[in-house]
């Protein structure tokens, strides 16, 4: 056998590690003492951090979990347009928004209905709140979204009314208008009763449409869908201007007078020659023609009446002018785009004013705009005795679909409609209208909402959205203060924790460093022997390093077990205050990994001193100092 002097590395890479571990095992009691010393430092730090993390996390998750903390409430009522709601619904940070009516219209009387549909329980006053698909307050509090004739009660409301899921609730709505007391009723099915967490309010969540109906009734309007009586909110015609024909011209002064307090702000004379280009027809009858226009608002019937009154006895003929409206006509499976031109004259008037081109049809005088849902296809050769009904889609700023009786034939894209109808369709530029076929009436649709119910996706978006709404001039109330409180608490607890952890780490490092250094001092002889056997100076640096890491790891394991036992105890002690799956004292695997990494760093630093001692240790002195 001969020595193998070409071997560069001594032994297996695990040799020093195994020696270090065996040395620790040899001095088991001493090693355990060191492990306990590390535990003594790390254990309380783990518990402290676990408590800090657990409690803050608990507060945070409760904040996050409770939809109420994601709510943004308007402070004062305003007018929110439907477009605004559409825009808001698109925003990713908003999980739910629904328009809300005025506060005053939300209060109703309610009682549980018995088998005979009459009230069987106590009548209580409830607040109606609108809801809709995705409402987190309902969905996250064991509720469902109510159907068209359903409702969801808060716990408090259900207790007051003695209602439970599956009951029917009779609702009475009262209104007083001009000393006239009226009441209407409806019956809703209780789809769900919410958890108490949803809030201590006596509220009933209903679909927005139900709330709108209630508001309309309270405002004195009729609600035909429910059979509730009241007045109709009929739509009115608006015009772009008024064409006036007079047998004799107006003086300058008369012109000025006619645009004073009439609603019209400008007047100009019209030459018969240029008329057709601007208005689509021209007047041949001798006389003077003037065109009255308004500046900001469109002209309404009362403005036209003003002019008519002032020109009484002058033989004036008034022709309201509404700009043409584009429409799409749907008939069976075909459709085409047309221009609807309004003409404000009857056949008699046309004859008298010698209007060219003279329409070849007879415009029926209509007493209501809806009664004049008729259109005449332009063209001299058209037989206007033929008629059919088509659906006309009108898309201005608001859209409307109405049935239209079309007279005549041909594919001309110009159709004439009565001025009254044109004026109504022109109103679509201003506000929504709907056509009620039952009453054959144009009714004004709802324009704006007084408020909203809004929930953000997470609590972190509440403050940003609050500020954005503030920029739009909408002041809102949020739970931002509560959220900020938790964030600040977390911040301060972090500071305190880091101070304590740093002190503990320093103490732990000092303990470990002293022990490892002492251990090297005690083992000078053994280390000298190892050098003699052929371990290089540098390979033996790993000896205290490995021991430090093993001891620290041991301390880490013991401290972690200690932590788990104690966190179990703490969570049991507070079991009444916390819900299932919640934990007051907890750490994530990430935290343990972080702690392990920090402890490893501390072990390395602590072993440094001992390693330096090993570097300076001469085997000669180690062996000969006996």
């Amino acid at each position: 056998m001969s020595g193998n002097s070409n071997t560069k590395k001594e032994g297996s890479p695990w040799l020093v590690l195994s020696l270090a571990a065996k040395d620790l095992r040899h001095e088991l009691i001493l090693s355990l003492c060191l492990v306990m010393a590390v535990t003594a430092v790390l254990g309380p730090v783990l518990i402290l951090f676990g408590l800090k993390f657990g409690s803050v996390q608990l507060l945070r998750s409760r904040l996050i979990e409770d939809p109420r903390n994601r709510e943004i409430r308007p402070i004062s009522s305003a007018r929110y347009q439907p477009e605004w709601f559409l825009k808001m619904q698109e925003m990713p940070e908003i999980s739910f928004i629904t328009p809300m009516t005025r506060q005053i219209s939300t209060s109703v009387d309610a009682c549980v209905a018995g088998s005979d549909s009459a009230c069987s329980g106590e009548t209580v006053s409830l607040d109606l709140l609108p809801t809709g698909t995705g409402d987190p307050l309902l969905l996250e509090n064991k509720g469902t979204i109510p159907g068209p004739d359903g409702c969801v009660l808060t716990r408090f409301a259900a207790e007051k009314a003695g209602a439970k899921t599956g009951d029917r609730i009779n609702i009475t709505i009262r209104r007083v208008i001009g000393g006239d007391w009226r009441k209407a009723g409806l019956s809703l099915h209780v789809d769900a009763v919410l958890d108490a967490r949803a809030g201590a309010i006596k509220a009933m969540f209903v679909p927005l449409s139900v709330l709108e109906q209630v508001e309309r009734y309270k405002d004195g309007e009729a609600v035909p869908e429910r059979g509730w009586e009241g007045k109709q909110r009929t739509a009115f015609a608006e015009f772009d201007g008024l064409l006036v024909w007079l047998p004799a011209p107006l003086t300058k002064l008369e012109q000025i007078k006619l645009r004073t307090s009439t609603g019209f702000s400008a007047v100009r004379g019209i030459k018969p020659a240029g008329m057709e280009k601007e208005f689509g027809f021209s007047i041949a009858a001798p006389g003077s023609i003037y065109f009255f226009t308004t500046r900001k608002q469109a002209a309404r019937q009362d403005n036209i009446d003003n002019i008519a009154r002032r020109l009484r006895g002058r033989g004036a003929i008034l022709l309201p002018i509404a700009a043409p409206v584009n429409a799409r006509l749907r008939e069976d499976s075909t459709s085409r785009n047309v221009t609807l031109r309004s003409l404000g004259f009857t056949a008699d008037t046309a004859k008298r004013l010698q209007i060219t081109p003279l329409p070849q049809w007879v415009l029926n005088p209509a007493d209501s705009p809806a009664a004049s849902l008729q259109a005449f296809i332009a063209g001299d050769n058209t037989d206007h005795s033929l008629s059919r009904v088509v659906q006309a889609d009108i898309r201005e700023k608001n859209s409307l679909t109405v049935p239209l009786i079309i007279y005549g034939e041909g594919d001309s894209s110009t159709l004439y409609i009565p001025a009254e109808l044109g004026g109504i369709l022109r109103l679509l530029r201003e506000r929504p209208i709907h056509y009620n076929a039952e009453n054959n009436a144009f009714l004004l649709s709802r324009q704006a909402y007084a408020g909203f119910r809004l929930y953000t996706t997470t609590i972190d978006e509440v403050d940003g959205l609050r500020r954005n709404l503030g920029k739009e001039g909408i002041s809102v109330a949020t739970e931002a203060d509560r959220i900020r409180d938790v964030q600040e608490l977390n911040h301060y607890l972090n500071l305190i924790f880091y101070v304590i952890a740093a002190a503990a780490a320093a103490g732990g490092a000092a303990t470990l460093a002293a022990s490892l250094y002492g251990s090297v001092e005690r083992k000078r002889k053994e280390i000298g022997i190892l050098r003699l056997l052929g371990f290089s100076r540098f390979s033996l640096l790993r000896f205290p390093l490995y021991q430090g890491i093993i001891l620290t790891f041991g301390g880490f394991v013991v401290a972690s077990s200690f932590f788990f036992a104690l966190s179990l105890l703490i969570n049991n002690l507070f079991a009444e205050k916390i819900r299932e799956n919640e934990s007051l004292c907890t750490l994530t695997p990430g935290h343990f990994a972080l702690f392990a990494a920090v402890m490893l760093a501390i072990a390395v630093v602590a072993a440094l001193g001992a390693a330096l001692r090993i570097l300076r240790l001469e085997p000669v002195e180690a062996l000969r100092d006996e």
Binding site: M1, E10, G534, S536, F538, P619, V620
Partner: protein, 252 residues
């Protein structure tokens, strides 16, 4: 170098000295010439303080001499190359120690935290030799300490500890075993026994042994060379100790 033709030699020292100063007293060890060959069993005797330990440390490559004309070690893999100790770095010296030298220290010098078996196996493991367990067991058998293999050194008697140390010194097949008073702490009967086992094993493995001992009588039957020191005072505080080989006819 003119003695290169001597194929059995592997240690060559010429004009090597090491000077030590302590409290104003100067002690100097001079090695005029020392050549160690395979198979040598050399005893080093002399009074305490004459430089026996210093000689061991220099040969063990853990103490660099102050000056030397020649201090070379034949390379195992390439017998024609001699490594000059003075030019080697710490890691290379550790490699040489690991592979070529075995130690038997006073009181054994066993590591207290390893079992006897682990102690014996350690140099073999360090050299990544095959069948370390078999080698250790075989040596332990020959030394009669098989029963003690799984004990810690503290549980062993002085004689058993020295036997374990001898096994550790030989396990990796070194070129030389440096032994420092291996029998000083055992009784006479045990000492004779250990001496015989040591010399038998060394001869079987063709390992040179350099043994520092104060018990010349004990080792005379097994040695082939005897080294001693002559001391000379060069002033009140300056002692020079010179290594000298005692001619065979003077001690045989």
């Amino acid at each position: 170098m003119n003695e290169v033709s001597d194929n059995l030699s592997f240690y060559r020292l010429k004009g090597v000295s090491r000077r030590r100063e302590k409290g104003g007293i100067i002690f100097e060890l001079e090695i005029p010439e020392l050549i160690i060959r395979h198979g040598d069993f050399i005893a080093v005797t002399g009074p305490s303080g004459c430089g026996k330990s210093t000689l061991l440390d220099i040969l063990g490559l853990i103490l660099q001499p102050d000056c030397n004309q020649t201090f070379t070690l034949r390379r195992s893999g390439d017998p024609n190359v001699w490594d000059d100790i003075a030019t080697l770095g710490e890691a290379r010296l550790a490699d040489l120690r690991k592979a070529k030298i075995g130690y038997v220290l006073q009181n054994g010098g066993l590591l207290p935290f390893l079992t006897v078996r682990e102690n014996i196996e350690l140099p073999a493991r360090l050299n990544r030799l095959k069948n370390t367990r078999g080698r250790a067991a075989e040596l332990a058998g020959k030394l009669g300490i098989t029963e003690q293999l799984d004990k810690k050194p503290a549980q062993l008697s002085g004689g058993q500890r020295q036997r374990a140390a001898i096994a550790r010194g030989l396990v990796h097949g070194p070129a030389i075993v440096l032994a420092d008073e291996p029998t000083a702490a055992v009784d006479q009967i045990n000492a004779v026994d250990i001496r015989n086992q040591f010399s038998d094993l060394a001869r079987q493995q063709q390992v040179a042994v350099l043994m520092v001992t104060h018990d010349k009588k004990l080792v005379l039957p097994v040695i082939n060379r005897l080294l001693t020191f002559t001391t000379e005072k060069r002033g009140t505080n300056h002692t020079v100790s010179r290594l000298q080989e005692v001619p065979a006819n003077e001690w045989q």
